[in-house]
Symmetry: C2
Subunit: 130 residues, 2 copies
């Protein structure tokens, strides 16, 4: 990911993540997105369908567009791995970004949060500064 | 699709369509969306990757969210079939909806337009009126 691509993924746009079901069919979800260290980050919870799917087949695609400007978008294919470390702090940081500072902390007694770290293989963009 | 789901898909929101590459990996694109007669409609052109992919494997997923209200979204899995009839009139109608009436007619000498008609298998929504 270029710095401009990472910046775009940190703007607070929504993303569509598509993973593969055990039968190979695509399964999409709408969710918050982040980027760090050249990887795309998605925060989810243990037991969710997307977590189970990427444990079976790590191939995913991510699509993000600017809700204020349809000519700005990023689509990436990549391979996801699961990381637990820092996942609670990460979901809090995303809540701050998407819902406003200090809002909506998830109770820690809920299911363990996990981060899907997606190493991009192909990235296609439109309208992002180089 | 319920009437409320069809209406949502005709609001002029962007969609993410995910098809499967020959190797089974997911391939997403950002595009205009439509619905009619219980099916989800996407307009594309002969020779595009998504057209080739659905000819090989018809399984797709579609994700649409309201760019003004993240709590309104629709995700559908379905099976796509290609239809040529009406595809030029359909892309003109979509251009009217997305870009304003009478704007940006595609020149007819371009590649043949086709409609992907997606019969939904599973539909999940949030925030749409019943």
């Amino acid at each position: 990911l270029t710095p401009a691509e990472e910046a775009f993924l940190r703007e607070g746009q929504l993303a569509v993540l598509t993973a593969l079901r055990p039968d190979g069919s695509p399964h999409s979800t709408v969710l918050w997105i982040d980027a760090e260290g050249g990887e795309i980050l998605v925060n989810t919870a243990r037991g969710r369908a997307k977590e189970r799917h990427v444990l079976e087949d790590a191939r995913v695609s991510v699509a993000v567009y600017d809700r204020a400007d349809f000519q700005r978008w990023l689509i990436a294919d990549g391979v996801a791995r699961l990381v637990e470390t820092g996942a609670w702090a990460h979901i809090d940081a995303l809540a701050d970004r998407y819902q406003g500072p200090g809002t909506n902390r998830l109770p820690r007694e809920g299911p363990q949060r996990v981060i899907l770290r997606i190493a991009p293989i192909r990235v296609e963009t439109q309208g992002l500064r180089p």
